[in-house]
């Protein structure tokens, strides 16, 4: 099950980078919850798949040309959760942006129910009871 969760997320990253937001949408349960990192401009939480997707779309509009997410750590799975460090690159408005954060996904029955972002990778690992 854990490897399936990891594979699910890898396919999600791929879909995001291909601009296939319908596939990204389908990864989330209807009642999904998204929490952005501390001090994010829109604090949330975003509750419900449509609210989550609106937040994602809004974020993507920040860059006119392109944005892409890249995993820069292993996908660490623990029970129903997967933690991954990622870098989010965007270009098109102003300077190129490289935003680094850690995502902690809670996955049930093949879909994301809870998606939480952390600035600090160690904090995310500690949340799932692991250390670096």
């Amino acid at each position: 099950m854990s490897q399936e969760n990891v594979d699910l997320l890898k396919s999600g990253f791929k879909a995001w980078n291909a601009g296939d937001m319908d596939t990204v949408l389908a990864l989330y349960v209807p009642e999904a919850i998204l929490r952005m990192p501390d001090d994010w401009p829109e604090p949330g939480p975003f509750v419900g798949r449509e609210a989550v997707m609106r937040q994602f779309e809004q974020l993507r509009e920040t860059w006119a040309e392109a944005d892409a997410v890249e995993a820069i750590s292993d996908f660490v799975d623990s029970g129903d959760r997967v933690v991954v460090r990622m870098i989010w690159r965007g270009t098109g408005h102003g300077p190129v942006a490289d935003l680094e954060m850690t995502s902690m996904y809670t996955i049930r029955k093949g879909r994301i129910v809870y998606d939480e972002k952390f600035w600090d990778h160690r904090e995310a690992l500690e949340a799932v009871g692991l250390s670096e």
């Binding site: 854990s2 919850i33 929490r35 604090p43 509750v47 623990s78 029970g79 949340a127 799932v128 009871g129």
Partner: protein
């Protein structure tokens, strides 16, 4: 940290039973989300401390007196599972319900609460079993 979290939830249950809802409220993160039991009349989710407290107030109004008895705690990273027995009396027949609450904790506050009728289902949802979960009674 996890033991601290268990103590925080234990304390919240004591506050609930004492009718000290201000203390219950203080244990919730301002942006807490609560998802009720499957089939519960109010579907939720309830978003934010005010909404969760309003829901708690509503469910307590069903009885003149109600108490929550923790049967066992399971700690798993930042989450605390509590199997509880909830007794209510005073309006109509007495009621006893048993369910499992899963609290996700951040910096001493609860950010997410899920409820499951079935304890095994809660453990399974979190990818745990009774054997590998640390149980605290």
């Amino acid at each position: 940290m996890s033991q601290d979290n268990v103590d925080i939830i234990r304390s919240a249950i004591a506050s609930w039973n004492a009718g000290n809802m201000d203390a219950v409220r203080e244990g919730l993160d301002p942006n807490v989300v609560a998802t009720p039991l499957q089939g519960w009349p109010e579907q939720g989710p309830f978003v934010g401390r005010d909404a969760v407290m309003a829901w708690y107030g509503q469910v307590r109004e069903a009885w003149d007196i109600d108490t929550v008895e923790a049967i066992r705690f399971v700690e798993a990273g930042d989450r605390v599972l509590v199997r509880v027995r909830w007794h209510g009396a005073g309006q109509g027949p007495e009621s006893t319900m048993e369910f499992t609450a899963v609290y996700t904790m951040r910096k001493g506050g609860t950010v997410y609460i899920e409820f499951f009728w079935d304890h095994a289902e809660a453990l399974q949802a979190l990818g745990l079993s009774e054997q590998d979960a640390h149980v605290d009674t």
